[in-house]
Subunit: 327 residues, 2 copies
């Protein structure tokens, strides 16, 4: 199946992505098979607040990339609800329709024929949010090994993990919109600071120039430094409007310029290193958290938790006692 | 200092909160001192998307609570930027002005005299977002021990940790607004599913009734079940408008009704148990992640990461090798 995926079978690739999404030993095998074939794709992260129009923008970018002969892949990350383990209405279904076969035409507002060489996949992460930090790198590796370039990771940009995933890309694009709440609010999750490229989306709406001005001001004041502050890279701000059909070409130009910058300064290797370290730490964390839960829910753990609930022990001493058992 | 805080010294309490915020052994000592004095306060979580008007609503609730003879405490959680370790502009400063002395008058639009018995504290969490899940319960315990009731935790509601912290309260209030993006988007972070009470804020704005209808529909369809689905508790939806000065009394009524429900069904103990377990797991996770980072950044870890970056080893095998060392 792996050979088929690498040879271009969309069906095989879709199945392997499901394996990777589920995690566990099979996912690790797929990841290790893919590893020697990776390192070619430009890894692009796109994030922004809910409702910023990310999916539409990504659809436009994909249409342009395909038209210029690229084979882009999109991994749309859908942070699951902690309770139901999935998005609740149509969003995931819409994106899943594209997995492994045709492509999400609605998102890009382009005819399917134009998007035939793209692969769009929605990924839900179940349970502990650490799952995301483990599964995304595996899926990206798989796309890279299968010859997709660029690989675009789209996240909702609410929460540390989602922002971290995008910040670890080669190029991180942060999408802002008029009416998203002020920029200060947006940066509470550190969203603005991972940006290599800003997009002010829905630029046809009132307030778009205010958003641009706020971002410029924050850049001027050094409140946003970008990830490459030391040698003076300043994230460009691109205005885009799906309504007016503008901006997506400019976004791709800015992204390409950033890649040139990374390569000419040797910073691309730094990004790769950062990404590998983050993945290794995420994997270790996931394994350790699993052991912590096992301990806490085991016989002795339950007894200790009862004591803490009754006020006989403090949570501090309960966790200390359980940690001792980890040796 | 602990005795002073319990006896009512705001100065002592403020200093202990700083100790708790910094974490480490001193924070644990404070927590253990507070432990026997806790269990009285109604723990209230309030969350919602950025710009939902949470701070204003909290200010109104605090003013009402004080006017009715309560001594509420507010812990406003400010998820730090991963890079600068702090909020970037005035927001934190505004809340910090209230800590330990007078109170954030602007937020509540009420004269300071009316708020004299409240304690409002902003908490920044640095570095790994796990810090939040550890520090918040300690601070809540301290407020509870010092006789504050209710203890209100306000979070931005972007990200799993922030949502989890609020979901672990006795009563979780989720604030929605017109124009926050549709409800489906909002639930991507599981925000809606932890709600015991919904508030549709800025109800004077166009679209407020649509938000209410969407929420009712999602409740009808079972897409939001609330945390107490089995015995049929249905989260009420309260309309509120700071502009028109309406809703904050209704919010307090709904919150009180939920507390009655918890107590009459024995579910309050369940919440407490859930909270203790979450705190213990968060503490264990924090300790274990620290060890993982030490390992990865140690001599052998750096060598393994180099090999992974060069493609000689896969991240899977690097993390497996490092985990072996943890025993």
């Amino acid at each position: 199946m792996f050979a088929d995926a690498v040879a271009g079978s969309r069906l095989a690739l879709g199945r392997l992505l499901t394996v990777v999404e589920r995690g566990g030993p099979s996912a690790d095998v797929v990841s290790d098979l893919a590893q020697p074939l990776t390192g070619r794709a430009h890894i692009l992260g796109i994030t922004g607040a809910p409702g910023a129009g990310k999916s539409t923008l990504v659809g436009e970018l994909v249409a342009r990339l395909v038209a210029s002969g690229c084979r882009p892949a999109v991994l749309a990350v859908d942070p699951s609800s902690p309770l139901t383990g999935g998005a609740i209405l149509g969003d995931r279904i819409r994106m899943d329709g594209a997995a492994g076969s045709s492509v999400d035409v609605a998102a890009g507002k382009a005819p399917a024929s134009q998007l035939g060489h793209a692969f769009i996949r929605s990924m839900a992460t179940r349970g502990h949010s650490g799952g995301l930090a483990v599964a995304v790198p595996l899926a990206v590796r798989l796309f890279d090994a299968a010859g997709y370039d660029p690989v675009i990771i789209e996240t909702v940009g609410v929460g540390q993990v989602e922002v971290d995933v995008v910040g670890a890309a080669d190029t991180a694009v942060v999408v802002a919109t008029p009416g998203m709440g002020d920029a200060v609010q947006a940066n509470k999750a550190g969203l603005l600071e991972v940006a290599d490229v800003f997009v002010v989306n829905k630029a046809d709406r009132p307030g778009a120039s205010d958003v641009r001005r706020d971002l410029e001001l924050m850049l001027d004041l050094g409140h946003i430094t970008g990830q490459e502050a030391p040698d003076g890279y300043r994230p460009p701000i691109v205005m885009a409007s799906a309504l007016e059909g503008t901006g997506s070409g400019d976004v791709l130009d800015a992204v390409a310029a950033h890649l040139d910058y990374l390569e000419s300064t040797g910073r691309r290797a730094q990004r790769r290193r950062h990404r590998v370290r983050a993945e290794v730490l995420a994997r270790m964390e996931q394994a350790m958290v699993r052991r912590a839960v096992e301990l806490a829910d085991g016989a002795e753990g339950r007894e200790l938790l009862n004591a803490a609930e009754n006020g006989e022990l403090s949570p501090t001493s309960v966790s200390a006692k359980l940690l001792e058992q980890l040796g």
